[in-house]
């Protein structure tokens, strides 16, 4: 497959699984935006607006994580129930093209929700070029590792119901428990080191710089980027060697 054909396949999948279903049933969009907006609402109300900045940054991270969990459900359903993955395997489309297209299609669902958060980000006066670049970079990396994780897990499931078990656990472990929606200082000191096991802690740290919370020091930012990039590359590598494209 030439690069042009690969790009065409990715865009076709994004259209096929992203644009077409939304046009058929626009309510799909609410599903993706519901959880991040709920958290934004509760965190802001409970903190009397003090944690709004954190909630906006956390909401964006959660939106990208939800791409991974949605991807996990879709890929598992298409593989087990519709045998769509088998149709694609027996075609020129390679595994990474399939994942790329499907991950892009899930991103399409997130765009309206993301637009809400970007609007909040903009009206709070946090828009600067470095902040925008940080925001884009963090979201890209979170989207990438969430997609790689979602795809890898989905290829091991034998029934789509298994995703109903893993998706909440992933959300809990990567966006609810880690200091994504709140400052890490709110965690008891004894628990704080565990928060650094989650890549989203580093993503949130960087994001804080982009939402007017000061953000990490230069060295801290370098460490955050390195960990986030390393985690993403690690999961992409894991997906390339462990995801089941062809059954063993």
């Amino acid at each position: 497959m030439s690069e042009r054909h690969r790009l065409r396949a990715i865009l076709t999948l994004a259209y096929l699984n992203g644009v077409v279903p939304i046009r058929t049933q626009p309510l799909y969009l609410l599903n993706v935006i519901a959880s991040p907006l709920s958290f934004l609402f509760f965190v802001t109300i409970a903190s009397n607006g003090v944690l709004l900045d954190y909630a906006v940054g956390g909401g964006m991270i959660m939106m990208m994580l939800s791409v991974g969990t949605s991807l996990q459900t879709d890929i598992s359903h298409y593989k087990q129930d519709l045998k769509f993955q088998d149709v694609v395997v027996a075609s020129p489309v390679e595994a990474w093209v399939y994942v790329g297209g499907m991950a892009l299609s899930e991103l399409v669902y997130s765009l309206p929700g993301l637009a809400v958060f970007v609007f909040l980000w903009a009206i709070n006066g946090w828009v600067t070029l470095p902040a925008a670049l940080t925001l884009a970079g963090v979201l890209l990396l979170v989207w990438s590792f969430a997609s790689a994780l979602g795809f890898t897990l989905a290829t091991y499931f034998e029934d789509v119901r298994e995703t109903f078990v893993f998706s909440p656990l992933i959300s809990l472990g990567l966006s609810v428990l880690p200091p994504v929606y709140y400052p890490i200082q709110h965690l008891p000191a004894a628990v704080r080191p565990f928060a650094y096991l989650s890549p989203t802690t580093y993503a949130a740290d960087l994001m804080h710089g982009a939402v007017g919370l000061g953000g990490p020091t230069f060295t801290g930012a370098l460490i955050d980027w390195a960990v986030l990039l390393g985690f993403t590359l690690g999961l992409l590598f894991l997906a390339s060697v462990k995801a089941r494209w062809r059954e063993p």
Binding site: M1, S2, H5, R8, A9, T12, L13, Y15, L16, N17, V20, P21, T24, Q25, Y78, D81, L82, K83, F84, D86, V87, V88, V89, A90, S91, P92, V93, E94, R246, E247, P248
Partner: protein
């Protein structure tokens, strides 16, 4: 005769559960023709198709498609094949037209080519009138036809159709048959698995009978008839008892009539004798169903458990 698919000592043991699905399968499938794989549920048909379509790794032996080994060079095979897996269903939010068109775009077809191929295949399979209907609102048979249309529209040289007509009504089956015949006219290779032996006989130049993960018989339907011990069937209704029929061949009872498998001479003698006694008689060469019964020892639709591995 060039071969599109060649299996040598092919075996497949599923890692989970250790079930042996294929055991030392040797098979040569000629290029540019329709080849039928027949067998009961669990005989190994789908496993063979999935290994050949590069969806499943073999455990031992070799299988090559268009000259490339499935284990070593799947990437060279995949652009030249297309598959409709068993029990596959189209994405429910697509229309029939979108299903075919987007599949072709996914495979790399240019927009105008994909459009032209889509319109042509929908017309040929009599799907034009429902082209813009959501597949979720179609009957199971219609969805199946849409899936078949999808792969037939592609430029794949080898098509894997795993029970493509299961669940279709007789008219829809005939339309899919016509499409498969078109693929044969275009000199494409079609590997067809089916439960319907009339379908295998009507469409396939050659058939292989799989049972317990092994090829029990392979050849043209005419060759298979020559290879069975008792190549004629005589159906006798009334008058004659089982004991009177047994000297002529193997006797079984089907729907109240006696079915006798016999050699040609004995079949003729029996037919004459039965007619002389006023019985209703029908005689002819054995069907694929009869061959299956003789070789495997049970009917194709007999789902009772067997000791052999599934």
């Amino acid at each position: 005769m060039t071969s599109a698919i060649v299996a040598q000592g092919l075996s497949k043991v599923y890692p989970r559960g250790g079930v042996t699905a294929l055991s030392g399968v040797d098979l040569e499938i000629p290029a540019g023709d329709v080849f039928g794989l027949i067998g009961r549920n669990g005989a190994g048909k789908t496993t063979f198709v999935r290994v050949a379509a590069t969806q499943l790794m073999p455990s031992a032996g070799h299988l090559s498609v268009l000259g490339h080994d499935v284990a070593q060079a799947a990437d060279r095979i995949r652009p030249r094949i297309a598959a409709v897996p068993q029990e596959s269903r189209p994405l429910y939010f697509l229309t029939v037209d979108q299903l075919v068109y987007l599949y072709l775009r996914l495979r790399g077809h240019e927009r105008s080519d994909a459009r032209e191929r889509t319109d042509r295949v929908l017309a040929e399979l009599d799907l034009t009138s429902i082209a813009h209907r959501l597949v979720s609102r179609l009957s199971g048979g219609m969805r199946r036809r849409a899936m078949v249309a999808m792969v037939l529209a592609s430029d794949a040289e080898v098509l894997f159709l795993d029970e493509p007509t299961t669940g279709l009504d007789p008219i829809a089956r005939r339309e899919v048959w016509a499409a498969i015949r078109r693929a044969r006219r275009e000199r494409r290779t079609v590997l067809l698995t089916t439960h319907y032996l009339d379908e295998a006989e009507a469409l396939s130049s050659r058939v292989a009978l799989l049972d317990g993960g092994r090829v029990r018989l392979e050849g043209t339907p005419a060759e298979l008839r020559q290879r069975v011990r008792l190549p004629y069937r005589v159906t006798v209704e009334g008058v004659l008892t089982r004991g009177e029929l047994e000297p002529y061949g193997e006797v079984s009872e089907v729907n109240g009539a006696h079915l006798v498998f016999a050699r040609e001479r004995e079949a003729r003698e029996l037919a004459m004798a039965a007619l002389g006694r006023g019985a209703r008689v029908a005689m002819g060469p054995v069907s694929l169903e009869d061959i299956f019964l003789q070789v495997v020892g049970r009917r194709l639709d007999d789902e009772s458990p067997v000791e052999e591995p599934a």
